[in-house]
Symmetry: C2
Subunit: 257 residues, 2 copies
DNA sequence: TAGTGGTCTAGACCACGTC
DNA sequence: ACGTGGTCTAGACCACTAA
């Protein structure tokens, strides 16, 4: 007798309105959250799953891709597919409301901040940059793209734009250190106020590559404009943080009622 | 002569280390951002693209999926694939730092907030809920899942948990209106302080369905605990906002230096 | 070397929109 | 009725990991 039902069988209904790959994903997700599949344990190979469920390997992969993107599964090329272990790495936290630098944040958690300069330009601003920094026509900017790391692990890609006329001469060597805010401080340009936007986006090929993620992974995107005490914009920064390793924390208060 | 190079040809290198579908995605992305493909215009059909590029339709679809997830392309079943028009809908903004409700936020932008109750329970808390609300063992909670809308459009899924003993008797009818904070206020339980976490996650099948998104879309996930003036936790809320329609805004200040 | 996931093919049929 | 994207198949070969 050839029993064709493996122990991890998932009930599939070909006539259902729900596509088969979603049914497979739901079935696996249920076994994961119920603890049926232990954290860190390996799933059957894709070909084995396909054969056992009587579906094609493509369909199985479509299901696994869904769960991998949510972080429930971790796929390792040449090795296997595993149920993601619980909190494999501590998730850093940043307390907002106060104007602090990336470097200080990372240090306050006992980790070592780092930065790798990916690009350094002295050019004309984009329309977006010109508007955010209130630049007069023709005024040039410094633009720096850096990979921010914590204990050597990629955490964010940050693009900073500074008005050249305001900050004075800047060289590639000036931005290799971790903190741009510290650099500004030495020139008497401490930011005292900033407005920051946060939203969620999917990683494109470039960001995914830099951050060591799969394309399409969820990222926390921020956009920030900082002003000096005199009310002059000194920095326009856009950053993309890994959604799986970073979370922002803030404290909110009522209106004093 | 049969020239096999359509006007939208993309240079492909089969020997490249970069997979073909990524090359296709990059090529299309470049034509989109360069304005070569106008916003709102339709792309060639998948079968046509595949034939023109001499690759399989599966490979083309893999490339289109990448760009669609980033929001560059919009796919319409039965109709076609289009370059996403610029800001098809105004992106709402929420100013943080002040303790305000979802309803007030939406109203302050001139839109109409709404809520559809998806679930209402009176049960024992999860370990996570019990810890966040500082509940004594055995104490029960009300749990409400609501779909929050703006002008009728799904914007977020919010799961709120309230200590039953503190808020008093609650019925399904009490939570059908938009504002839970307003309800608490009528019982003398105005929150005056809250801590909120923000991070980015990928939509699972359930959230994608509720918010009208493709599975895997980027969501802004928030977690919030609110306290009354007396320091008692009154609400533990988890919300998932559409990444493409919502962005958080906050103002930051220096430490008074 | 053997097994795994990653990529790719050339089809097929279904579900949806539009005409 | 027709064209579109959505799903699914049964293979194939490559790239990586581990024994």
């Amino acid at each position: 007798m050839s029993a064709t039902s493996p122990p991890w069988a998932i009930p599939l209904d070909a006539a259902s309105a729900l596509p088969v790959y979603m049914q497979v994903a739901q079935g696996l997700e249920q076994r994961i959250v119920s603890g049926d599949l232990r954290r860190g344990s390996a799933l059957p190979a894709e070909r084995e799953l396909a054969a056992g469920l009587h579906v094609s390997r493509v369909t199985v992969r479509q299901a696994l891709a869904l769960l991998a993107q949510q972080g429930l599964l971790t796929r390792k090329h040449g090795s296997g597919t595993f149920v993601t272990p619980p909190t494999p790495e501590e998730r850093p936290s940043r307390t907002l409301g106060l104007l602090s630098s990336f470097s200080d944040d990372v240090r306050s958690r006992g980790q070592t901040p780092g930065a790798r300069v990916l690009g350094f330009e002295h050019t004309r601003p984009s329309p977006q940059e010109a508007m955010s920094l209130a630049l007069s026509p023709g005024e040039k900017v410094y633009r720096v793209r850096r990979l921010r790391t914590s204990d050597g692990e990629p955490l964010a890609v940050e693009d900073s734009t500074l008005p050249a006329a305001l900050v004075g001469r800047l060289g590639h060597a000036d931005v290799t250190d971790a903190s741009l805010y510290a650099l500004l401080a030495t020139r008497g340009l401490n930011p005292v106020r900033a407005i920051r936007h946060l939203r969620a986006v999917s990683a494109d090929l470039t960001l995914a590559e830099l951050l060591g993620l799969a394309p399409g992974a969820a990222l926390l995107a921020t956009e920030r404009v900082s002003w000096t005490r005199g009310g002059r914009p000194v920095e326009y920064a856009r950053a993309h943080y890994r959604g799986d390793r970073y979370d922002f924390v803030m404290e909110l208060h009522g209106d004093g009622e």
